[in-house]
Symmetry: C2
Subunit: 192 residues, 2 copies
């Protein structure tokens, strides 16, 4: 499944509710594996049925009850087994914007160029977020435990990826400039 294992990985941090997991998927692990809350709850149900996680209802004052899920020994074993057997081939890329690049003469180049500018921003933002995290967590204290090394490596991959994207966007934006009517990015936005 993939999502199942991603959840088990999250639970190695300690017991979490579905809601907690959702937040983790929106931030740290979500950079490499995305999930919405619906699928998280569905997956937790089957993980529980399979005995890979234990559930405990926790009453909270005011707020609704939460179910705290904990990794069981079987869950730990499954995680380890997955790390040996599971897929490790490069995942296939799926990028609609790149598909457009294959028939640039049949699409709206100005629109595509603007999309590339938007992506530049998105990737630049990601990159600075990653740099921030690196500064906060891995500054000079070269944490040499396995867990930190692994996570730092993940972060470094993310930084490489975003950096290349930003550079590529710059390259693409200038390459496409001659094909766009009046170099729209240099035009002042018209006042209403």
């Amino acid at each position: 499944m993939g999502l199942r294992e991603a959840i088990l990985v999250c639970l190695t941090e300690g017991p979490q509710s579905g809601y907690d997991l959702k937040k983790t998927f929106d931030t740290s692990i979500g950079f490499f594996w995305h999930a919405d809350h619906q699928r998280i709850y569905r997956a937790l149900k089957t993980l529980h049925e399979d005995g890979l996680v234990a559930a405990e209802a926790v009453a909270q004052s005011g707020k609704p009850d939460k179910k705290l899920y904990t990794l069981t020994d079987a869950g730990r074993a499954a995680l380890r087994q997955w790390s040996i057997d599971g897929p490790s081939a490069p995942p296939s890329v799926k990028d609609e914007m790149m598909v457009r690049l294959y028939a640039l003469d049949e699409v709206d180049v100005g629109a595509v160029r603007k999309q590339i500018m938007a992506r530049r921003s998105a990737h630049a933002e990601r990159l600075s977020l990653y740099r921030h995290i690196e500064n906060v967590r891995y500054r000079e204290k070269n944490a040499d435990d396995l867990r930190s090394v692994g996570r730092h490596l993940g972060l470094k991959l993310g930084m490489r990826y975003e950096r290349e994207w930003v550079d590529w966007c710059d390259e693409a934006i200038s390459s496409l400039a001659p094909f766009v009517p009046q170099s729209e990015d240099e035009r002042e936005p018209a006042d209403a």
Copy 2:
């Protein structure tokens, strides 16, 4: 859908059968959008129903009949509209190996490291394929038509991507070496 538009993009090259499209998806456009033959045939059916492609049965001596699909004017228009309206946000990454890196202390590090070595090969192979294509198609003849510029840009993104992956794998392989029993890659493979 995404796949629909990828097929329309392929058909801007000229009429193709489902089988032809499958081969295209296995090579060029498949680097950015993957599809198996089942989904291609299903998508072609609905594209045809929607009038975005025209179908023509072609009898062949010996071989089974093939259905040649051609882009219609409506298909061309749909493609153009999609290039304006369609999604262009960075697609979410999904990579099980990266998920493993989040709990390196709970998995089999030796296995993960070997997987990284395998990925290094896969990415290096891709990179050299891309370099080959660049040499053959875009060597010095700086083709300045839109179509070529777009495809060359796509290729360049692919090269950046694969190059970073190869470098990252090298970094990861050495970072993890101290955590693996007897630096397994330096051991001679035991004779049976």
